[in-house]
Amino acid sequence: MSHSENSHGSSAPPLKMGLAIPDSKLCMWLFLGTEIMFFTAFIGSYIVLRLGSPGWPSDPKDTHILVLAGGINTFVLILSSYLVVLSHEAMIEKNYRKAWNFMAGTMVLAFVFLGIKSVEYAGKFTHDIVPGHIAEDDEQALAKLVREFDSSRISLLNAIVPGDDDANKKASKLTTGPGEGEAAFDPGMVAAYQKLDKSYGELREAVRAEEIPLHVGVDHELNTLIMDRIEAMKTDEQISPYFHVHEPHPMVYGNVFASTYFLMTGFHAIHVVVGMILFGIVLLQGSKLDETWIDFIENSGLYWHFVDLVWIFLFPLLYIVDFG
């Protein structure tokens, strides 16, 4: 039904419903409204959890939080937000080449942000600061140490003796020799396994008998007996590829710290990736970029400023504030 039919031939302009902004912009703001609730739920819960926890790991040596990296990332996001508004301004001025260049700069900065974030994440993974993996006291740290020694021992055993047999059967094969039709075992690998197995056995017994405390000295220095044992395995060329044992550093309330850290920064990083997809769509237009893309760039910019806003609060809350 056309407007003229609808208005019974009236010459009055058709009624226009809604707000004096583009539909797409209204939709973006509605979406950002849900996003605000999404992130404030995380951030609010984090603040409440942290205030309610009897303790919280705040020493950067424990948490591997890099304040400088967080600060640089804050600068990177602010600069990228600035470039987005400049890109939008250039679009309004019909200088599409300039707008494309600013958008490309934003994209580069988004990559820089994710690169720095990756370095931070790599540090966490190297030290096994991962939810559910963190020992919170000496007893848990020693149990984890023994468990990791054991799984390293089994990894090496599986490399020497392939097949589906259980570990005990495979270990006995090392002394009885390979079965019929099976390849001979590498004597160097067998010697490496025996070295690792012996070290594991001694460690397990010492921990069971509570003969080996995790820490010595007043500054909670790690027991040199444990560290020497780890070092000996890491420096053995044949053992090291299979040896995945972390230094046993207990961190009280470390798991709730890691859960909240990865939840908030992880979802934020996903939002950064989504923003990069939006910018990528614009950049793919190349010389075809024209005024029809003004709304898209404005809405992408609104989204990107929101990503920046979230980081503006995550930076102090995760990197600086110590609630005592």
Partner: protein, 130 residues
Amino acid sequence: MENHEEHHHPPYKFIFMILIVCTGLSWIADVLKESFPGPAWLAVTVLAISTMKASCVMLYFMHLKFERHWKYVLLAPTFILAVGLPLALFPDVGVHYYDVDVPQNPIESRAAGNFHGEAAVEGHAAGTHH
């Protein structure tokens, strides 16, 4: 509906400089954290700086300063939920009169009649090993 509203030209460069200065102030606050009278002062300072930065981004980069009244209608419910959720959780999770029964909270502190776990906090503050 593709009618473009009136276009404003906020002082983007000036706002950008304010944001950079504020980021620098947050970093300086972290470097001087030992000089603050207590952790709460540091928290209030850096969160106040962040709020100022967020206001600049929302008002100028996101143009909320120049938008019409629809912004209040649209953002009020989200603001209420954003504030309401922490307030709702706070009495039980944030402050509680009872002892938190977790393995990290040593039983001795409870046996000594410490219902708020202060001893546990002190013990663990000293015991975050590395």
